[in-house]
Symmetry: D5
Subunit: 147 residues, 10 copies
Amino acid sequence: MTTKKEAAAAVLAAKTRLGLTWAELAEALDTPLAWTTAALLGQHPMTEEQADRAGEVLELSADAVAALRAQPTRGALDSPVPTDPTIYRFYEVLQVYGPTIKELIHEKFGDGIMSAINFRLDVERVPDPAGDRVVVTLNGKFLPYQW
Amino acid sequence: MTTKKEAAAAVLAAKTRLGLTWAELAEALDTPLAWTTAALLGQHPMTEEQADRAGEVLELSADAVAALRAQPTRGALDSPVPTDPTIYRFYEVLQVYGPTIKELIHEKFGDGIMSAINFRLDVERVPDPAGDRVVVTLNGKFLPYQW
Amino acid sequence: MTTKKEAAAAVLAAKTRLGLTWAELAEALDTPLAWTTAALLGQHPMTEEQADRAGEVLELSADAVAALRAQPTRGALDSPVPTDPTIYRFYEVLQVYGPTIKELIHEKFGDGIMSAINFRLDVERVPDPAGDRVVVTLNGKFLPYQW
Amino acid sequence: MTTKKEAAAAVLAAKTRLGLTWAELAEALDTPLAWTTAALLGQHPMTEEQADRAGEVLELSADAVAALRAQPTRGALDSPVPTDPTIYRFYEVLQVYGPTIKELIHEKFGDGIMSAINFRLDVERVPDPAGDRVVVTLNGKFLPYQW
Amino acid sequence: MTTKKEAAAAVLAAKTRLGLTWAELAEALDTPLAWTTAALLGQHPMTEEQADRAGEVLELSADAVAALRAQPTRGALDSPVPTDPTIYRFYEVLQVYGPTIKELIHEKFGDGIMSAINFRLDVERVPDPAGDRVVVTLNGKFLPYQW
Amino acid sequence: MTTKKEAAAAVLAAKTRLGLTWAELAEALDTPLAWTTAALLGQHPMTEEQADRAGEVLELSADAVAALRAQPTRGALDSPVPTDPTIYRFYEVLQVYGPTIKELIHEKFGDGIMSAINFRLDVERVPDPAGDRVVVTLNGKFLPYQW
Amino acid sequence: MTTKKEAAAAVLAAKTRLGLTWAELAEALDTPLAWTTAALLGQHPMTEEQADRAGEVLELSADAVAALRAQPTRGALDSPVPTDPTIYRFYEVLQVYGPTIKELIHEKFGDGIMSAINFRLDVERVPDPAGDRVVVTLNGKFLPYQW
Amino acid sequence: MTTKKEAAAAVLAAKTRLGLTWAELAEALDTPLAWTTAALLGQHPMTEEQADRAGEVLELSADAVAALRAQPTRGALDSPVPTDPTIYRFYEVLQVYGPTIKELIHEKFGDGIMSAINFRLDVERVPDPAGDRVVVTLNGKFLPYQW
Amino acid sequence: MTTKKEAAAAVLAAKTRLGLTWAELAEALDTPLAWTTAALLGQHPMTEEQADRAGEVLELSADAVAALRAQPTRGALDSPVPTDPTIYRFYEVLQVYGPTIKELIHEKFGDGIMSAINFRLDVERVPDPAGDRVVVTLNGKFLPYQW
Amino acid sequence: MTTKKEAAAAVLAAKTRLGLTWAELAEALDTPLAWTTAALLGQHPMTEEQADRAGEVLELSADAVAALRAQPTRGALDSPVPTDPTIYRFYEVLQVYGPTIKELIHEKFGDGIMSAINFRLDVERVPDPAGDRVVVTLNGKFLPYQW
């Protein structure tokens, strides 16, 4: 039985071998870019059709395709505080601006949270003469505390 | 000597007592909303002028005003993994989508990071018939690894 | 400025001094029992009316009443793994049955979570000849993963 | 020798391959749903008869069947704080409502705990026009501190 | 309001000042030795009568007496692994003999636990020509796993 | 080379396969019950004779027999705080009664410790009409602090 | 698929077998010494040309060469606090001089950081009659906090 | 008795109030810049003369002056992994380049370490048209492993 | 009530104020040097006579004298891994040579430990032309594992 | 490629198989006892000659011999706090006497450390009528803080 982690490794290897991009994979599956990347990395289950299509494009084994469909136990960081600099910067944002985001959500919505389930994210490259910018948009439904 | 943490507590108390919002405080200081909130919570130093203005609006002591100007030692979470649900959801986004964000940054920009220093963030309320949405935009300059 | 933690200590002291129960406090505030307990312990903000009523019944200071209305930064355990035996048993349930609960939620609902925000809980005493039973009901809206 | 963890993986693989549900497995073994799930995931030992029946239905190897009967060393979380969102919500409930549950147990029963050994749990789907609800019932015998 | 920890410190100070032993305190309260020690150190609540008697013997303040009656949030170690050598040896016993104790409980009783709630302990000095021995007896009701 | 951990796994497998109990193994080796269990689980080295006898009774490989004789690096818990409920209860006893045990040792013996080296333990089943009891006796030489 | 960690092990083995130095490898690749070492240890991706050249000089497998080109997930310490004495001394420098470095950066540049991305380092041996000295130069672009 | 931490806070407050820089303080004490900063922050003991001079320039209390002379227990980070971004970048350098630095020290010197005791550091601003650079030089005596 | 930690702080302050050395204090108390230091730092209880003599020499308050006599809860490090370089080196010795010491104890004595209770230590300065040496002697009774 | 850890395991297996002692191995290599043990356990690199001689005596494979010569990444404890009782006692010494050792080093030498690099240790058995004693001597060059 192939785990989702092994399937993700197979995806990465195939993606490099075949010279594919996440954008091309998303297009091939007709699914949003970030969702597709997350699903192929093992954080979302795929439908049978999506997994089959991914298996075809990435020339995956039947076992890896089955793994793509399996329900994930989520959590992708190796340690509570990430060490990779690209990922760490987002943890740093949380360390510096976490209470700020909390205050502004409460001011604009009242007591509650941004859902991380009814949620989508986007990563964009925005040209800027002073150096292009990474713009990550986190978009989740507001859920008020409701007894 | 008042610490920045004590100054932040004084800000919160005054804000409640005077019935002010972060939006009104940002307007009074003529600074961006999220920056203003972060600075008043002690994560950014204020200029003399900004601190004086904040002190005026929030009726702070001279010591608290001095603290607002001091250079912060940043880091606002009480523990490596935040326990407050509103803040935790952003940690969860990192746990579930961290490697996805990393992959997409590398695909769109090459090897490097989103700066958390040359950086701004925004928290918006976007109306939606299925429930209004929290949209948090993280916007940082791309910094390529450069030896 | 009184913190919510100090207010909770004041509540506990007054409750003992006045010989009140959580049930009586819930009745006095006309709010659900568990919600009332959680709010007076500092995990939910009260409305002005509720806080005033609580202050009256518990003979709290104006500062403590203000603290009851403040937005909480939630998280009530002193350490990631609780040491108090009464609380630990629930952590143990998570250690032993966590994946079971996850499997059954996914089988009955598909991919998603039980909301801990649109959520209520109840603690009941159920008579049993072999020893009365503690029945804790966790009741949260199902939130499907939705991009 | 097959470990209980390997047996659980074999169970999950077979369950998917054969298109079985936990409900069908519970019915086949004539044991409660949540208990069956927990036992097949390795957190409870099965009797010889139960393990044989499970092996038959799930087409398991003799080694896996033997593992199902073995006494477990319990504990199913990979880290003290779970990262999977579906499981984390229950940890969050503990963070937010732990002391509330403790207070109410003490008010209704006196000093003691809810047993996690003389214990059963149930996960139900309760229809609700505002969105169906997950209802998890924790039901344990009250054990008073008794010297 | 005096916490149970402050009350315990007051107990220790008074005990030294008055030259009392735990054995004398247990006799004065007519309660078992180890229970008395644990209760005075804040790990068990006392009845009104017991607390009053302890207050009398130890010349405690009314606040400290009230604290002795309060429901404890248990947990007496400063860190997950104790550093004091006298206490550490018991942690070492767990590190070396934990699985042995587990195996023998299961062999003699089946699947279940020794209750730490319906439980008493005793510390005795047993004379031995090769050096007197500390004999600690842990005595808890067996609780079988019971669904 | 077989590690002591692998040898312990082989012991457990053989014990189940051959339907032996720890009591029978202790009798076969003519060694105390708890010591035998601990030694076969890898926490004590066996003499050549003991290991050979154990190998005979349990039909172990020569490598496993050699491992039983090897000097152990002790420590049997997978994490600082054990998760298995049967073992955890003893950790809980330490959390609740650790300082009590310390106080009583000091009162009865003076400054020092119970040795965990010149030490033996026993696990007994004591019949009780209200439910049989697990009685664990920890018996160690008192070692006074001695410069 | 070879991981970057396995490729690094292959590099170290080959380097020893062939009697090569990092300096010779850097010369062969015509890349800076420290960068070359870091890249071969798996912390920087190589271009196709660099990886091929490294593969040639170190007689690596095609899989190892491919791994050298792959995007790394960075982070080379086995634990948050390093145990190797040569590496630990730099952690100690951070423990003792971290706030000093922070103060001096802020005094000389204002609020901001030394980039660890637009960054290079050098390790030199500086002769000294009292014992040669290790001189490590950390050289990063200053990045001012900029909203 | 003033602790070195309290003395450091007094130094920072006085430095701000009097508008002094670390450079001016170093000049006033006639000691190296980074050493002076570290000593005033409590990580190095001062001689009587240095402490008196510092007390004069910074208008410190006699207690604070005494604290500056005391032997420090070193260690300036609040947690094993620093959260302040300016300090964190140096931890990140260790995460990414630690083994590289180790390899190069061993290649240039053999088995041993850079002393963090016979050690000095320097923080410089180096003008650069592409953005000025922070250059931190760590300079320690090489200490070979020597039995 | 003065804690042993506060008493230790008072000792250190008095020692500095009066210009005393540990050697002079040991002589005044007629107790071994390292024991005296440890006891005055709160890790060993003093007899009434010793505490009184220490109080006299160091001009301590009656409360501090009482604290010196109290039974300590031992453990003097602020964190599991010490950060002070002078103390850390001994932790490093354990990291590098721990298993070596274990092997040699077992080779010379058999299975058992060096007692840390029936134990004394000594710190000496040994002149050496290549630089004087710190010689720390750990001297504990061997305790064989004995059931 | 054999790691140093695997080589150490091979050394231990061969040592047992051949019935050799560390003392005999040290004699065969003509190196100090503790150094030899540490080097064979993987904490010091051997010269070609030493490794070859060790390989001969212990009948090791060429790969294991190569591993003995490799530069170690030091650190031999499995967790920050050791669990093996023989090793733990030395950690306990650090917990109880760490600050004492620090005070005495500073009193006898001034500000600085005992080197753990220019360092040797010895483990001896000293006969004593009250029970033989383990004497561990830590002998390191004093290194004064020197800017």
